[in-house]
């Protein structure tokens, strides 16, 4: 793909009215949707009108006055960006008169612009430069001794981009992008007239302003005013490759813009169906980890974890791995080893790892990190609807009238989707937030929740049942929908259950801590406010009732008829980039790809036939069970691809003990992660920039990952798995990931229509994509549920056993923040650290005062599982009795604190509820100091000998 800029039609598409308009533009008769601007209509017919303030991801503004046109029968020269087309209109976009006017405007622009094009970072990629050429400006007769806005100091505070006000043409594109696209409202125009200037948050610098570094302003800037530091440093790109972001489950599409083999910048792709040209600070800027010096590029082995690592050749590492696994199986049995697939790797890689385990290891001991995040989603939605996935595409939110966010913090966790949601909220949709914390969505510029229900952690089921109680007892349910689409008797049984007085909002108020009147009002709003859409995250799943909560959500949606069309639905916001894909690909110990149980003889038969082996019909071990078995001595070897269970899984001591008990721990990762401290073989991994494949995002959208540069470690991850498989005697010979996808498609009915050539041609496909749904499935359960009839499941509220008491009086809940990602392995190795250099403990002022804690003090955080220390952040975002922290930094190790309680159905850990005590302390705990020392010891590397 060569470097070509994307076409900018100047103004967004018209909101469809279903009508079209025929007009004449420069003599050509064209028909366009009603409401289209003259500018867009002209652009779509291939005739470009000069423009500077117009760009098609924000509303027209009409300030630059370059796009003036002539319209027959109308006085003056209307701006084509703000003038909609009309029937019979005759437009001229080029004339001597227009040329004169445009040149006059451009002459004014250039009279206040530095003419340092040759040394300007935007040279060759500057709209002002381009438009000056387009209008034929040859002289600036005003001279250069008049007033100017040049010579102002640059703002270099942001780690990723510079702001050079001297080059600003005050088109407000950045301001409008911040408002309309991102919804942060961090930028403004200060001053009036000639002194009008772009300013972040009233005169602050970018870094200390409210700016969230999403990059929308940089993207919108037509000049070098806002420029990526990398462009300043390297120069403008000369080629681009379209690929998919490897951060969260939104799955933004980016153009990786390259100069030779060097990545210059990641620019959100306008045609990306998940992000529509928007991005966040992680995907847009935080990709420097891919070239970080911490990356391990050579394979390493060691006999014991006390020894330093020894760099070895790929051949030796692979042969050693295979022989160790075979040795262990020979000694301890077929089921004594297993593996973990990575939600950060591609579908193809994940499929290969589970295939290696099922076909090569001969057991079903495969699990994935979804175990610790969205496994309850899989269980809950499969049970109620019949499919383990969200029901909508992201665009659906634009049709929602009432948005219910529960246990999710989209502005931090899924920022690009959150921006779209906020856009819809600004258009007037109502918002209900159910969350113990006052997350940003509760109140932010131009967005305010109608109801925030700040429930006590662990009471989701009681809360959702109370909402159901109101809907049923006040007869707000959709009887026609239920009779048509669900089993009425099951509904009636469920309705009786939720109607019982002890489940009313009033009855559970002491439990949830939320006023019954608010709960009732929220229930009425959701049930009667039009299209109701539910979005949820790990605040739903990571509980001992995670699966019940997911089913309770599904019940609500079915009862109100909010399923099976655009604007409604049940939408899990997936954590990692490919957690949906990893689950789809058969990463769970009980399921083949496409969520089919291993005990299903017909399905197993297909795989046996394709893979030429007999497959185990019994479910394998889940991650916590693997660790239990390891502690007990029956599980001895594990292959972990792209997953840091020591940091991300609960009860770190238990994880460490399990790993320490194994004889061969193989870790494949970019960095020596925490888990690698217990590893015997380290296989360097490749980043998403270095391989081909596909990711599947939270809306079931399968998108291509394309190789942008050669793998620094020599092999893409799928190739490494193939090498291990070959060494174990499996005759794999995939030449390209597309061949793996062909195998997936052949073996997985929901993927039957997925092929690389289609993905390349169409950009993406949402599964199911097969003969029944040839174009994929943006919205699921239209007309009927996948399982047939929707199933109402009675969800009893069974309180967690994790309870506060005198020793541990506070409830700890955990989450993440915008700038960091998961365990931080990637983001900590970028300049994102500027925003979040450490995990802090959020604590309510009352609780802090009781303990004599001041803001910034070191505090010890102790549960029955363990103890750690971190610094306090006093805030009313958390309620009294609740404390909160993130888990991005290994030196904090929040998971030392979390317990071994987990979801009853899936063993998804109960991260969100831990009884703790908080005390003032003097600094890091003993454990943290010991751990830091052990980690240092464990990471020693002896370089590869002579061989090289």
């Amino acid at each position: 793909m060569s470097y070509t800029r994307e076409t900018d039609h100047g103004t967004p598409p018209a909101i469809s009215t279903g009508r079209s308009v025929t007009l004449t533009i420069d003599g050509d008769t064209v028909t366009m949707p009603e409401g289209t601007s003259i500018m867009r209509a002209a652009s779509l017919t291939g005739c470009s009108i000069p423009k500077l303030c117009a760009t098609d991801n924000v509303e027209s503004f009409g300030s630059c006055r370059l796009c003036l046109v002539e319209v027959e029968g109308r006085n003056g020269y209307p701006a084509s960006c703000t003038t909609p087309i009309a029937e019979g209109m005759v437009v001229r976009t080029q004339s001597e008169r227009l040329k004169q006017l445009r040149r006059g405007v451009m002459e004014l622009y250039i009279s206040d612009h530095p003419l340092d094009c040759l040394t300007c970072p935007a040279n060759g990629d500057c709209e002002l430069q381009e438009q000056a050429g387009a209008v034929g400006l040859r002289d600036v007769r005003y001279g250069y001794d008049g007033a100017t806005n040049m010579g102002q100091a640059k703002d270099r505070s942001n780690p990723y981009f510079d702001f050079d006000p001297s080059k600003c043409i005050v088109c407000s594109r950045c301001v409008r992008a911040c408002d309309e696209v991102q919804g942060t409202f961090a930028l403004t125009i200060e001053g009036r007239g000639f002194d009008s200037r772009v300013s972040p948050s009233q005169g602050r610098d970018f870094l200390s302003s409210e700016c969230v570094s999403c990059g929308a302003c940089v993207q919108a800037c037509p000049t070098a005013t806002l420029t990526e530091k990398k462009v300043v440093e390297i120069g403008t790109p000369d080629r681009a490759v379209v690929t998919t972001c490897a951060y969260c489950g939104v799955g933004c599409t980016f153009r990786a813009e390259m100069r030779g083999e060097e990545l210059v910048r990641m620019v959100p792709w306008k045609d990306g169906k998940a992000n529509h040209g928007h991005s966040c600070v992680k995907g847009r800027f935080a990709w420097g980890y891919a070239q970080h010096r911490d990356r391990i590029l050579k394979p390493m082995i060691r006999a014991s974890v006390d020894e330093p690592w020894r760099e070895v050749s790929w051949e030796e590492a692979i042969a050693h791995t295979a022989s160790e696994f075979r040795r262990i199986q020979a000694k301890y049995g077929t089921r004594s080893i297993g593996g973990i697939t990575s939600s950060r790797c591609t579908n193809e890689e994940t499929f290969l790892v589970q295939k290696l385990i099922r076909q090569g290891f001969g057991n079903n001991n495969v699990d994935t990190c979804a175990r610790v995040c969205h496994s309850p989603t899989g269980y809950g939605l499969k049970t109620t609807f019949g499919t383990s996935a969200g029901t909508q595409d992201f665009d659906s939110v634009m049709q929602a009238d009432v948005i219910l966010v529960i246990g999710a913090n989209p502005t931090d966790g899924h920022p690009v989707f959150a921006s779209r949601m906020k856009k819809r909220l600004r258009q007037g949709a109502k918002l209900i937030v159910i969350d113990p914390r006052r997350i940003d969505l509760v109140k932010s510029p131009h967005v305010e929740a109608s109801h925030h229900l700040p429930l006590r952690p662990g009471t989701n089921v009681a809360m959702l049942t109370a909402l159901a109680h109101v809907i049923v007892t006040e007869k707000l349910y959709d009887e026609a929908f239920i009779r048509d689409r669900c089993d009425w008797d099951e509904f009636a049984e469920w309705a009786d259950f939720v109607s019982e007085p002890q489940r009313s909002p009033e009855a559970v108020e002491p439990l949830t801590g939320v006023k019954a009147t608010e709960v009732r009002a929220a229930a009425r709003l959701y049930a009667t406010g039009g299209n109701g859409a539910i979005y949820y995250g790990l605040g739903v799943t990571e509980h001992s009732q995670g699966s019940s909560t997911v089913m309770a959500i599904a019940n609500l949606a079915m009862a109100t008829g909010n399923i099976g069309r655009e604007g409604v639905g049940v939408n899990p916001l997936r954590g990692q980039n490919n957690v949906q894909g990893a689950c789809d690909m058969g990463s769970f110990p009980h399921e083949f790809s496409g969520y089919r149980h291993v005990s299903d003889d017909a399905v197993r038969g297909q795989f046996e036939q394709a893979w030429g082996v007999t497959l185990d019909a019994e479910p394998g071990l889940r991650i916590p069970n693997m660790l239990d078995a390891a502690t007990d001595g029956t599980f001895k070897g594990i292959f972990i691809q792209g997953e840091d269970i020591l940091q991300s899984d609960p009860n770190t001591h238990h994880v460490a003990a399990g790993l320490a008990a194994m004889e061969c721990v193989v870790v494949q990762d970019l960095f020596l992660n925490e888990t690698a401290n217990y590893a015997h073989v380290f296989l360097p991994g490749s980043t998403f920039l270095e391989k081909d494949g596909t990711f599947t995002n939270a809306e079931r959208r399968i998108q291509r990952v394309r190789r942008v540069m050669a793998p620094l470690n020599g092999h893409a991850d799928w190739q490494i798995v193939q090498l291990v498989a070959q060494a174990m005697g499996l005759g794999w010979s995939y030449a390209h990931p597309s061949e793996i996808m062909d195998e997936i498609a052949a073996l997985t009915p929901t993927f039957a229509g997925v092929h690389y050539d289609r993905l390349d041609a169409e950009g993406s496909l949402q599964w199911p994509a097969n003969d029944a749904a040839p174009d994929g499935t943006p919205t699921m359960h239209i007309g009927g549920f996948v399982r047939g009839r929707g199933k109402f499941v009675v969800t009893d509220y069974v309180p967690t056993d994790e309870k506060t008491g005198p020793r541990f009086p506070l409830l700890l809940t955990t989450g993440r923040i915008l700038s960091q990602y998961n365990v931080g392995a990637q983001t900590r190795r970028t300049a994102n650290a500027a925003w979040h250099p450490e995990d802090r403990l959020e604590i309510h002022p009352n609780d802090a005062e009781n303990r004599g804690i001041s803001d910034g003090d070191w505090v010890s955080l102790k549960s029955r599982a363990g103890e750690t220390s971190l610094r306090a952040l006093i805030t009313e975002r958390v309620a009294p009795g609740v404390v909160y922290t993130t888990f991005h930094h290994p030196d904090t190790q929040a998971n030392v604190i979390t317990t071994d309680y987990s979801d009853w159905a899936t063993n998804c850990p109960e991260y969100k509820v831990t009884a703790v005590q908080v005390m003032r302390s003097n600094g890091p705990s003993d454990w943290q100091r010991d751990y830091a020392e052990q980690a240092r010891h464990s990471r020693r590397i002896a370089p590869l000998e002579a061989a090289e």
Binding site: S60, A147, G193
Partner: protein
């Protein structure tokens, strides 16, 4: 006890009306504070009631009480309405101004108030809109767009809410009609807005008054309270502007009411379809809304019978600047500029010859006496390269330097520009600079020659930013000024930038000698 009438108008107060009123009170008189009659050369004006008639005296000082009360004061004017300045007027809108106590509901009703609203409420909204159409009323803010058609658009729009917005952000220099009416007869505006509300289905209105009018703001607020029962269910509130001239532009005004930065919106969408808070909105100049009660009370025909060509009804002309009889003169369209300036205004206050008049505020064109036969009419003014605007006329005598006036117009635009569109934001500042070069070139004995004679092209190219590249000669700069005016006039987003060329070009065209031209510029009219 003797009843005397003294104006409470801000202009009268500035001339000492308060002191005069206090003196009459101290002398045991019943003092009724009215609005201003509108002729400033007789302010402070006192009218003494005697045998059911009002005898005027003015100007009057606090020391003159006794002489006024005994009728011996030399400034005795007799029946004020019979003075030539007033006798020739056709006061449709300002009939009560200066006559009644502006905050007396009783006075208002006794002088024909509320009849228009009563009539309107007896009619269908469509019939009211039809009446306004038939009256020929056009927007008095300057654009002259037919008011009835605007109302029709709002009436036809479907929405959960609609608004009436009155633009009383009277920022043009030399204009004061809005302020006079609000201070002198606020119920008239209220009645007009209530009629508009009925006509288009709006239940709430905003009156946007500039902060420089504290008397008007106070009077308006009190009048709204006093008449709330009368106008219910239609409600009103006052919004005070923050001092930006551009907020007189209707879309910037809407932004300002919404609490945003006063910046012009691109049209479409028309405010009539998506105005205040995105709802269909009637936004009219105060004088348009205040004309409506007469139209409904007396009938559209009575209004339309007065006027000239397509400009129907009356226009409250404001005479200001260097003029002998400054004030408000309401008259049917068609009167000539010369009649207004010379016959009614009485020529300059300085006694020197009139050299130029500017019509329509700081963005209006300058006219020389040679064009004084121009009739007051939207079309005639447009044809002559000018605009009526808010009907302010500022008179200048022969000491005026028209190049400085052109520079002032550019400077005014630069100061007041909201900064949104390029022609206005940068153009006005460049315009000041170009004018400075023209004035400097004009004033210097020798004409500055363009460019030193550099050896070779390369030197020039290497120094593309040197001043020598710029031709600062009179001819080149005048041509540049014309080009700039062309860019601003046709390229600007709103009337601020778009109208600034009017004073500049009219000065250049009609007074080329002030721009250093040796002989009048040909093809000046273009």
């Amino acid at each position: 006890m003797k009843r005397v009438y003294v104006s409470r108008d801000m202009a009268s107060v500035a001339l000492g009306a308060d002191e005069v009123a206090h003196a009459f009170e101290a002398a045991g008189c019943e003092v009724v504070r009215t609005g201003s009659r509108g002729l400033f050369s007789i302010e402070p004006l006192v009218e003494v009631e005697s045998e059911g008639k009002r005898i005027g005296f003015g100007p009057v000082g606090p020391a003159d009480i006794a002489a006024v009360l005994d009728g011996s004061h030399e400034a005795r004017l007799g029946d004020v309405a019979a003075l030539p300045f007033f006798a020739g007027q056709q006061r449709f809108t300002f009939a009560r101004c200066g006559v009644i106590d502006p905050l007396s509901l009783k006075d208002y009703a006794e002088h024909g108030g509320w009849r228009g609203l009563e009539t309107a409420r007896g009619m269908t909204p469509q019939a009211v809109v039809d009446a306004v159409k038939a009256s020929g009323l056009r927007g008095r803010g300057g654009a002259g767009f037919p008011t009835g058609i605007k109302w029709q658009t709002v009436l036809d729009a479907v929405s959960d809410a609609k608004f009436i917005v009155c633009n009383a952000d009277e920022g043009d220099s030399g204009t004061f009609a809005d302020r006079m009416l609000v201070e002198g007869d606020p119920f008239c505006l209220i009645e007009g807005m209530a009629i508009a509300g009925h006509a288009v289905g709006a239940s709430h209105g905003y009156i946007y008054i500039r902060s420089e009018y504290p008397f008007a703001i106070a009077a308006m607020r009190e009048a709204i309270q006093l008449s709330a029962e009368r106008t219910a269910p239609f409600t009103l509130e006052v919004r005070v502007g923050a001092g930006a001239y551009v907020c007189g532009e209707e879309t910037a005004l809407l932004e300002s009411i919404e609490g945003k930065r006063g910046q012009v919106r691109a049209k479409p969408p028309l405010p009539a379809l998506a105005g205040l808070f995105g709802r269909p909105t009637v936004i009219n100049n105060l004088l348009s809304l205040a004309a409506v009660p007469f139209i409904l009370a007396e009938g559209a025909k009575a209004y339309a019978d007065v006027g000239f060509g397509r400009s129907r009804g009356t226009i409250p002309v404001q005479l200001a600047g260097n003029v002998k009889h400054g004030g408000l003169y309401e008259i049917g369209f068609g009167i000539t500029l010369g009649e207004l300036v010379n016959d009614i205004g009485g020529g300059t206050a300085s006694g020197r010859p009139v050299r130029a008049v500017q019509v329509g505020g700081p963005l209006g064109a300058y006219f020389p006496p040679s064009m004084f036969d121009l009739p007051f009419d939207y079309e005639a003014f447009a044809q002559a390269g000018g605009l009526i605007g808010h009907a302010g006329i500022t008179v200048f005598d022969d000491s005026v330097d028209m190049a400085h006036m052109a520079r002032f117009a550019m400077e005014f635009c630069a100061v007041e520009s909201c900064g949104k569109c390029t022609p206005c934001r940068i153009g006005s500042t460049r315009g000041v600079e170009v004018m400075d070069r023209i004035i400097a070139a004009r004033d210097s004995a020798t004409v500055v020659q363009a460019g030193r004679n550099w050896e070779g092209y390369l030197q020039k190219a290497l120094n593309s930013r040197t001043p020598d590249r710029i031709d600062t000669g009179l001819e080149a700069q005048t041509a540049l000024l014309r080009d700039l005016c062309d860019t601003m006039k046709h390229g600007s987003l709103c009337a601020l930038g778009g109208f600034t060329p009017y004073p500049v070009l009219s000065a250049l065209d009609h007074f080329p000698e002030d721009f250093g031209a040796k002989s009048p510029v040909k093809e000046a009219a273009e």
